[in-house]
């Protein structure tokens, strides 16, 4: 066993209101620089929708992630045996998205509103490209262009997750009264088998051993941009102005001191949970090679039980501080993903073993259930509970998105969430029959205690309960780096040693 720790974020999709507070906090903290304007390390997409960059989930086009070939794992990008192909494409990458797949960053010529000479017409603020500084004829794409489906099914119909749906199911997209959509907030998944790291010819990208955060060493990055192509989630971004790739850093300067990530901290829907996981690094490759139907189970398998005395002993042997062990035991990530089995990874079939988890949303399912039965549902009838799996459209869609197509896993999570609702409703309102609740609980395998705990965490959870982030205590590690904290002030982490962002002169 090679025990390692990983910080992980979970998202309760039902509670996401698509307000983009998370994206804006992230942008304000990290990506307001030139060349980074178009980057959204945290972004929130409407699903169904084309996403950002456009159709990022379509790996036929981008060739991100891994595939199993001849019993071994290889980057999809390589298309052939060995890594030579990466180097052969070093002068021109056929699968690299360009800025037009994201959007050309722009501002508006606001000054014209004040300075325009007197005339017959109202002055306007024309859009100006932030790359060329020239006026833009027309803005054709922007952040969240198809937000809330952008008023048309044009973008949504390109969603790669719609595959496997029948024509009549797809038609749902255009029928206003049957319409469903929800939000998918995304950050880098800080994968256990990161494709970005594996594709970097310079070896500039690395996973941190202590907390699993994946970072790009800015001094070593040579602008080859293979990470951008190889990451199936398109979460490394190329800074066109200074020629370096950048990505979500999981707010490590904050998490190292026990603070919540900027996006999670700001989240108005309180949909985010951050916690630590212990996993067995020896088995990563086996997990990444598992067949699609089994891959989520395999991921759950390598997450170790933080209460198991052998695991605790191993963690101590690895030199892990007690606060990390305690955090792993109270971890919302562990509970949601492994213990209660209600959270699922985004596109596990990309085989990067992503470490962010999502609770599939119940709402679009209920919405459809209601639409089918004349608009109302009776919470007392067990028929409702059992009809979840009849609502095939969203379940298939969610399974494409969250479980490599395994509908059973999505149904398990949805039914569990439903059972918790019934359980709490019985306690609060009392209009659900005892037997209905009992049946629901036993059929999904939850205890009353589990229901109380789930409800406590996802509905009432305080800041301390949602964010259990152990401090790294760098100040104690004087054996590593004998400088005092005072001497180290202004240095930021592993890669960049300058407090200020370096300027490029040629």
């Amino acid at each position: 066993m090679d025990l390692r720790a990983q910080l992980s974020m979970s998202f309760h999709m039902d509670k996401c209101i698509g307000c983009h507070t998370c994206s804006v906090s992230c942008k304000n903290v990290w990506t307001t620089r030139r060349g980074a304007e178009y980057m959204w390390w945290n972004n929130v997409e409407t699903k169904p929708g084309a996403g950002y960059p456009l159709t990022w989930e379509d790996q036929e086009r981008y060739r991100g992630g891994w595939e199993v070939s001849g019993g071994s794992l290889r980057l999809k990008l390589l298309k052939g045996p060995g890594k030579i192909r990466t180097l052969a494409n070093i002068f021109f990458q056929p699968n690299l998205p360009t800025i037009d797949d994201y959007y050309e960053p722009f501002t508006f010529d606001y000054q014209n509103l004040f300075n325009a000479p007197a005339g017959d017409d109202q002055p306007v603020a024309r859009p100006k490209s932030l790359i060329t500084g020239e006026f833009m004829e027309k803005i054709v794409l922007g952040p969240n262009w198809d937000d809330d489906m952008g008023g048309s099914p044009l973008y949504a119909s390109n969603d790669p997750n719609l595959k496997g749906l029948s024509e009549s199911q797809k038609e749902m997209l255009t029928k206003f009264h049957k319409l469903f959509f929800f939000y998918l907030p995304r950050i880098c998944n800080h994968c256990l088998n990161p494709a970005c790291v594996a594709s970097c010819p310079s070896g500039a990208i690395y996973k941190r051993g202590e907390d699993g955060i994946v970072l790009i060493d800015q001094d070593t990055c040579r602008a080859w941009r293979f990470c951008v192509s190889a990451c199936p989630y398109k979460k490394p971004y190329y800074n066109w102005a200074n020629g370096k790739s950048e990505k979500c850093i999981f707010c490590y300067p904050r998490t190292e001191t026990g603070q919540a990530n900027a996006c999670a901290h700001a989240c108005t829907g309180r949909i985010r949970f951050v916690g630590a996981l212990f996993y067995d690094a020896d088995r990563i490759e086996d997990v990444a090679k598992s067949p699609d139907e089994r891959i989520v189970e395999a991921m759950r398998d390598i997450i170790l039980d933080p209460f198991d005395p052998r695991v605790i002993e191993e963690a101590r042997k690895q030199g892990m501080d007690d606060n990390w062990i305690k955090a792993a035991q109270e971890s919302p990530a562990y509970n949601l993903f492994k213990k209660w089995r209600i959270a699922l990874p985004n596109h596990p079939e990309f085989r990067t073993v992503p470490m962010n988890f999502y609770l599939p949303p119940l709402s679009p399912i209920l919405h459809n259930a209601k639409a089918e039965s004349g608009g109302m549902f009776d919470p007392e009838s067990s028929e409702f509970f059992n009809s979840i799996d009849k609502m095939r459209v969203p379940v298939r869609f969610l399974a494409n998105m969250l479980s490599a197509g395994n509908e059973q896993l999505v149904l398990e999570s949805l039914k569990k969430q439903m059972a918790v609702r019934m359980f709490i409703r019985q306690q609060r309102v009392g209009d659900v029959g005892d037997s209905a609740v009992k049946n629901a609980l036993s059929s999904v395998g939850l205890t009353a205690q589990d229901c109380t705990d789930i409800y406590r965490l996802v509905s009432l959870g305080t800041f301390q309960e949602r964010f259990v982030i152990p401090e790294t205590h760098r100040e104690h590690q004087t054996a590593v780096d004998p400088r005092t904290m005072y001497e180290k002030r202004g240095t930021v982490g592993f890669g960049a040693k300058n407090a200020e962002f370096p300027r490029r002169t040629w």
């Binding site: 021109f92 060329t132 310079s202 941190r208 040629w506």
Partner: protein, 232 residues
């Protein structure tokens, strides 16, 4: 005159290149790359970057082989058919490089986004490279069988430079085009530390072929360093 261009300048420019590279690598390793603009424009780039790099690398390798084993080249050329094959291949790759270079220049001049990122250094390099490729092709076409007399004139001159005993006579009587070609090559070397040409001296990617896929860095694994790299 010859003494100055082919006796003294090589040393001046080589010194500039070496000192400059050390200086840039230590003070500004951050900028040690070619700033890719594929992200902003990739259609014309395809017709520029691919032919250019594969063309010029092949030509360069040819020059280097000639430099290290001139006798092998001469022996190969001993049979006329083989000489023709070598010359024609060289010419083909030269034109491939020229085509790519022209596409790249066209792209720099016409695409607004790429233009916004173009520095004076980039323009200078494109000019130097264009001169280099055109004079190279001119040599090959006008003064035929360059692979033969390259091995007999420029190569011994280069060796004499490295042996710190410059024998300018080897190149003094070469045609003007050839002299420009040689001198321009030295300018090119001198420019390496001051431009995107730095990417020409890449020390990293070859490791990629041998290293395992994953890279992990530990902050507290080894007491002596703060940054232990492990592969797994």
């Amino acid at each position: 005159m010859n003494q100055m261009f082919f006796g003294a300048m090589p040393y001046i420019l080589l010194t500039i290149a070496i000192v400059g590279m050390i200086w840039r690598f230590t003070t500004s390793r951050y900028s040690w790359s070619s700033q890719s603009s594929q992200f902003l424009e990739n259609k014309t780039l395809f017709f520029g970057s691919f032919p250019w790099h594969y063309g010029i690398i092949t030509i360069l390798v040819g020059h280097i082989i000639g430099f290290f084993v001139p006798s092998a080249v001469l022996a190969w050329n001993g049979v006329p058919v083989r000489l023709y094959i070598l010359e024609l291949t060289g010419l083909a790759f030269g034109f491939l490089a020229l085509f790519g270079l022209l596409a790249l220049i066209y792209r720099r001049l016409t695409n607004a986004r790429v233009k916004a990122l173009t520095s004076g250094w980039d323009v200078l390099i494109l000019i130097v490279l264009l001169i280099q490729v055109v004079t190279g092709l001119g040599n090959a076409i006008v003064y035929r069988w360059g692979s033969n007399w390259y091995a007999a004139s420029a190569v011994p001159w280069m060796w004499s430079i490295f042996k710190l005993n410059p024998q300018v006579d080897y190149v003094a009587n070469l045609p003007l085009v050839t002299k420009v070609h040689i001198f321009n090559a030295m300018i090119f070397i001198g420019l390496i530390p001051f431009s995107r040409l730095a990417h020409f001296v890449v020390v990293n990617p070859y490791k990629y072929l041998w290293r395992p896929y994953q890279v992990v860095r530990w902050y507290k694994r080894d007491p002596r360093t703060a940054n232990v790299i492990q592969y797994k």
